[in-house]
Every structure is written in C-alpha cells, then in structure tokens.
C-alpha cells in the first residue's frame, strides 16, 4: 500500500489537533492556580483538585455513577446472553423484528427516552429513584451488551458442543462448561462497553434523576448550566483521565476497533 504524502500528513496533524484540543484544554485549565478560568502559565496548581473534596455532591454523584454503571451493565448482559444465543444460533420467525427492538434504544433519541421514562416512572412512583435509574440504564446500554455477546455467540464453534454431548455431557454441563466459557470474552467486553456508555449518559438521565440521585455527568451538566469555573474543569479532567485509562486498558485487552465495529485492525 502506498504511503501518505506530505499534504495528507499535514491534514492528519490538523485533524488530530482538532480532535484533541477541547479535551486537552480542559485538562490544562484544571491546573490553574487562579480563582477564575485561565491557562496556567508560570505556575501549576492542584488547588482545584483539592476543591473537589469540598463539594460532596460531585463525590457522591461519582460513586452513584459507578454503581449505576456496574449494576445496569451486569443486568443488561444477563438479559442479552440468552437473547444473543437465540438470535445468533437460531433462525425463527420475528428474528429480525426482535433484533430491531433490542437495538432500538440506539435509534430513539435519548431525549424521547428520558421523557418517556419520566412520565412512566412518575406514574409508578419510581420518579427520581435509583431503581428507576437502573431500569432506564439497562435499556440504553443493552444494545451495546447484546452486540458484543451476539458477535461471540455467532463465532462459536458448535462442533465443540457436539463433541461434549457425544461424550455424554448433559445440556446443563454443556452450557456451564462449554458454551458460557466460550462466550465469556464477548460478555466481559460487552459489559465494559455498556458500563462506559452508562457512565457517560447524560441526556436521558437528566430527565429522571432527582437532586438525591444525580449521576456525575448530570451533576456536571447542571453545574455548567449555572456557571463555568475551574472546579468543573478539574472534575472533567478526572473523568477524562479515568475514561482514557479504561480505554487504553480495553484497547490492549480486546482492541478498540473490534469493540466499536466488530472487526480488528489486523483482521483477526
């Protein structure tokens, strides 16, 4: 394959700057020693990172987001494993419609989902509760969990299962000792992708979270709506650092491209 010319490389450099600039700016401003938004020039300071400690709303929102993400992703994976085995290994009537239904939270605007859940949960008496948040997050992250479990269910070598059956294993033993271990990598990466999406979700959550149940992105969003000061940049810098670390770990373990498009860079 031919190489990129100089113009292509200049374009590439500008493009990467465009993609990284807003993210890096947040991280730089977070280190300002001043009391207002500014770039640290001669002196760097951690004062705005220490300041986070004085705002318990951010800390509690962070833990809530973490639990919410872990719990809703785990439940979404639990629902998507049997569904993935059905869709990936059987041909049946309504299969396409079912897949479209499970993938629909990707297509429905999150504002519409937020409104629908707000109305629904208020009627049920679940408005502003953590249970409501978990239910809503299961729905929006399920497509991500399903996509990756589906990929591993489709790629599963059925002859291994047949071998186990011919050697006298029962259905349950096959499921427990053969099928589940084989789909496990897809299951874990599906959980991870679902977790990241839950952790970042703001549009839908802003409708259904109440002051006691705000997630971190919702707290950040509402804070920015009032005013932008260095405190919210240091909180954002922490979020960016955590996500970046998770991203690099995921990329090493599974390959980011495989996670996002279902194919890997070197065509594994």
């Amino acid at each position: 394959m031919s190489r990129n010319g100089p113009i292509a490389l200049i374009y590439h450099t500008l493009f990467v700057i465009f993609m990284l600039a807003p993210i890096l700016v947040v991280c730089f401003v977070a280190f300002t020693p001043e009391g207002y938004l500014s770039f640290p020039t001669d002196r760097w300071s951690l004062r705005w990172f220490y300041a986070i400690g004085r705002y318990p709303e951010f800390i509690s929102a962070f833990w809530r987001s973490l639990w919410l993400g872990a719990l809703s992703s785990a439940i979404a994976v639990a629902f998507s494993v049997p569904a993935a085995l059905a869709i990936g290994r059987h041909r049946f009537r309504g299969r396409d419609a079912m897949t479209a239904l499970f993938m629909s939270p990707l297509m429905i605007p999150h504002v519409v989902l937020g409104i629908a859940f707000l109305r629904f949960f208020t009627e049920l008496g679940l408005g502003g509760t953590f249970v409501g948040l978990v239910l809503a997050h299961i729905v929006v992250v399920l497509p991500f969990a399903l996509r990756l479990t589906l990929a591993s269910a489709v790629g599963l070598d059925r002859s291994i299962e047949h071998a186990a059956i011919s050697l006298g294993a029962s259905d349950r033993t096959v499921l427990r000792r053969i099928t589940l271990p084989l789909v496990l990598p897809g299951l874990i990466s599906g959980w991870a992708l679902a977790f990241i999406n839950s952790f970042d979700e703001v549009t839908m959550t802003v409708f259904i979270a109440a002051p006691g149940t705000e997630t971190l992105p919702v707290r950040m969003f509402l804070y920015i709506q009032d005013n932008i000061d260095p405190l919210v940049t240091s909180v954002s810098a922490c979020v960016i650092a955590i996500t970046a670390a998770a991203l690099i770990a995921l990329d090493r373990a599974y390959g980011l491209e495989r996670l996002l498009v279902g194919r890997s860079v070197d065509g594994r």
């Binding site: 807003p22 869709i87 989902l113 409104i115 729905v139 409708f207 919210v232 998770a246 070197d266």
Partner: protein, 283 residues
Amino acid sequence: MKSAPYLLSLPALLLFGAIVIIPLVMTVLLSFHDWGQYKGIEPVFVLKNWHEVFTDSYFLEMFWRTFRIAFFVTLLAAVLGAPEAYILNRMKSPWRGLFLLVILGPLLISVVARTLGWALLFGGNSGLINKALVSMGLISAPLPFMFTETGVIVALTHVLMPYMVLAVWAALQRLDPQIENAAVALGAGPFTVLRRIVLPQVMPGILSGAIIVFALAASAFATPAIIGGRRLKVASTLAYDEFLNTLNWPLGAAVAVLLLVALVAIVVGASRLVERRYAQVFG
C-alpha cells in the same frame, strides 16, 4: 425444539415490552392531553398541543434550526472525516492503531467534558480560538461562537466525528487494494484513483455514517444546551424546558414525539435510498 429461541429471548422481550414500548405509548398519549397552569395535566383527548406545534412559527423556526444544524454537522463530518479515515487506513502498523485510538477514543469520553472544552476554547471574546485567529491576522474582531449556531455546529461536529470516521473506516476495510494497484498500473494518477476507484467504493460507508451523524446531531442535547445556551433552542432543549421548567408536559411530549417521528422517517427513508442505490451496483 422449535420454541427454544423464543424462550431464550423471552426475558429481554418482556423487559423491553414493559419499560420501552409502554412508556413510549404513554408519551404519545400524553401529547394529546390537555394542560393548564393551575389545573395541571388533564387526561382528555385534545389536538391542542399538535395544533400549536404545527402552527406556531416559534416551533417551526426551532425545528428548522434543529435540522439545519444537523445538516451542516453531517456535511462537515463527511467532508472532514472521510479523508482522515482514508489517510488513517494507509498508515503503517503502530501509528495506525495509535491514531485510531486517538480519533475514536473521544467517542467514549463524556460529552459534557468534551463540550466544556469547546466552551473554554470559544469563551466569549477572550477565547483561545479568537485569540489565535486575531494573532494570525485572519480576523480583525473576535467572532462570536458561544450562543451561536456556528459554535454549536463546530462542537457537535467534533462530538460526532468518530462515528463518521468509524463508518468510512469500516467501508475501507472491505476495499481490495489490488483494484487501486490495477488502476495505477493502467496509468491512472493518484487523484483519478481516489475519484474513480476509492470514492465510489466507500460511498456507502460515507452515507451510512452520514445517516448516523444526522440522527444524533438532530437529537443532541448536552452540546446545544451548553454552547447554545438558553437563547438558542433546538428540539431536545425545548422539550427539556417544557418538561422541567414550564412543566407543560403534554406540549413537551408533542415536540419529542414529532422529533422521533421525523427522525425515524428520515433515517428509514435515507437507508432505503442508499440500499436501493447500492444494491444495483453491488447486488
């Protein structure tokens, strides 16, 4: 066992029936309910909200703005993102993986944090971008980015760019490099190869990326809310206001349902067109 797939998918089907389909149906019904400042929501059947949404010029202007922003974001993402995906695809091993991570990674970083970055870069008259543009002599007076459509378009293009690069990248992976080599061997210049060989083959990727970006741009919330502020309303921020500030839920539901219906119509229609067009070429 013919019933096995149904039994396996039953839990997820019940879940989606209970907490996706029922709430959506309730929202559609809500848009037909009456509302008053003092009486609250009245569960009657009126067309008041729909009449208001379709006749009031305020809503017309707002929906027009929403789709105009989505159109320009899609155009910018396609024009800027497709060449980058092509360049990325021609890179050698360590760089390719690294830059793919750098460009696709932001997809998973909080939208609020990324939009905050643009708010800092725009930041009124003293924003970094204006300082840079003035010092380069490109402009004499600072450009307004905050609370303008331009600002929302730039920030949203950044937020949604990874989806476009991803779609074009996926199309490029299916490309046979031998065809390019054959064209070069037959004497085609690099520009001709790009225009006559590469572009037609990645066009389905660009179009499917465009559909995703358009749908997400038209329904984006956090970015237009932060960059556009309270003055520059789009469909989703307007619905938010009706729900959480004015408390006119039926009217907010009508706006949201209209957005959903319009988007589904556009996305399904565009997908059909793309499929039909390219079924002839590749079928």
